[in-house]
């Protein structure tokens, strides 16, 4: 089945099984590897991305539902490397990643969190992101999200 959508600003039409999870479409058909496979059951958040501004776990999102929509993966979160999204800048400022595998999903969730809760408390962060990190970067993720909020505020004020 032919399915058309925008991804990171580019219009794409692909011909795949309509039930193929967006995860595998993004990774294997479009060669965007930042979106990761972690559990395949919507439990770990490693495959998080945005579809029409909503947060989705792409292993649990058949590509057919993306028809006509706009997808953003981590590769498209920032305009360019010299103008980083506050979340990515904050992630660098706080030296967050260890192995780095779960980080794209966390950053996509964090970007959505800041849209909904521009000045999150530690509790807001803890309650609203349930992604899994095994290296133990959680303390830095919390700091980085707060830092991203500051960067965001500085940008918009």
């Amino acid at each position: 089945m032919k399915i058309s959508f925008k991804i990171n600003g580019d219009q794409k039409t692909i011909d795949v099984d309509p039930n193929m999870p967006l995860l595998w479409v993004v990774r294997d058909e479009l060669n965007l590897k930042a979106t990761k496979y972690g559990c395949g059951k919507g439990m770990c958040g490693a495959c998080s991305l945005h579809v029409d501004g909503k947060l989705h776990r792409s292993c649990s999102y058949p590509v057919k539902f993306a028809e006509g929509k706009a997808i953003t993966t981590l590769e498209g979160l920032s305009k360019n490397e010299n103008d980083l999204h506050p979340v990515q800048q904050a992630w660098i400022d706080e030296n967050v990643p260890q192995c780095g595998y779960c980080q794209p999903g966390f950053m996509m969730a964090a970007a959505k969190l800041l849209q909904e809760i521009p000045n999150p408390t530690t509790e807001d962060i803890k309650q609203n992101i349930s992604n899994i990190c095994r290296c133990g970067t959680q303390p830095r993720i919390i700091k980085a999200i707060k830092r991203a909020a500051e960067l965001n505020n500085a940008k918009t004020s």
Binding site: N19, M20, P21, G40, K41, G42, M43, S48, K54, L55, H56, R57, C59, S60, Y61, P62, F65, A109, K112, L113, E116, I117, Q127, N128, I129, S130
Partner: protein, 191 residues
């Protein structure tokens, strides 16, 4: 010679008896309607109390999962508009249909019933009252209730939940009939 007074008396008695009989007949008919309604309500309750319905009608803010009705994992809670969030919504993982790859269940507008329609821990009478109270049931008339409970895509999912999930103990058509019977016969609830 006919004793008029006797006739009058007879007529009076006849009518009195007839009236009495008639009124008692009517009373008896009402009685059986109530029984019917109450009986049908028990059938309705059996369905409403099945995990498929109850899991999304919690009285607290925690959605339940599975036939053992355990709390939804990963700290998922009701959220401001019953669809979790504001960051991770139900739709973050649940789409309009069951996902054959991730095995995450799905149906249109997947989410919780409003808290006013929380059914956990209610007695039969309380649950019935909640169903009928338009201030609590989403301002639904009896007709609206039948429509919601027998036509809404998310409700219908309960009878075709996929995977190894159990279905409600009563088939959909029997449930719908019971619902009608309950409502049409006075929507009686046990005291």
């Amino acid at each position: 010679m006919i004793n008029l007074n006797k006739v009058k008396l007879f007529i009076f008695v006849f009518f009195a008896v007839a009236l009495y009989s008639f009124s008692s007949l009517e009373y008896k008919d009402n009685d059986s309607k109530a029984d019917k309604s109450l009986e049908a309500f028990q059938t309705v309750l059996e369905v409403l109390r099945s995990p498929r319905c109850m899991n999304c009608h919690p009285s607290n803010d925690v959605p339940k999962v599975g036939d053992d009705r355990h709390a939804h994992l990963f700290g998922v809670v009701r959220g401001a508009d019953d669809h979790a969030g504001p960051v991770q919504m139900c739709s973050t993982c649940h789409q309009d249909e069951n996902n054959e790859y991730s095995l995450v269940p799905g149906a249109p507008h997947w989410g919780l019933a409003p808290k006013s329609m929380g059914w956990e821990g209610l007695t039969d009478a309380e649950l019935g009252a909640v169903l009928l109270d338009t201030t609590m049931n989403g301002n639904r008339s009896p007709e609206d209730l039948v429509k919601h409970m027998s036509e809404d895509a998310l409700v219908l999912w309960a009878w075709e939940p996929g995977g190894e999930r159990s279905t409600p103990p009563v088939p959909l058509n029997e449930f719908k009939a019971a619902l009608r019977t309950w409502l049409d016969n006075g929507a009686k609830v046990p005291e």
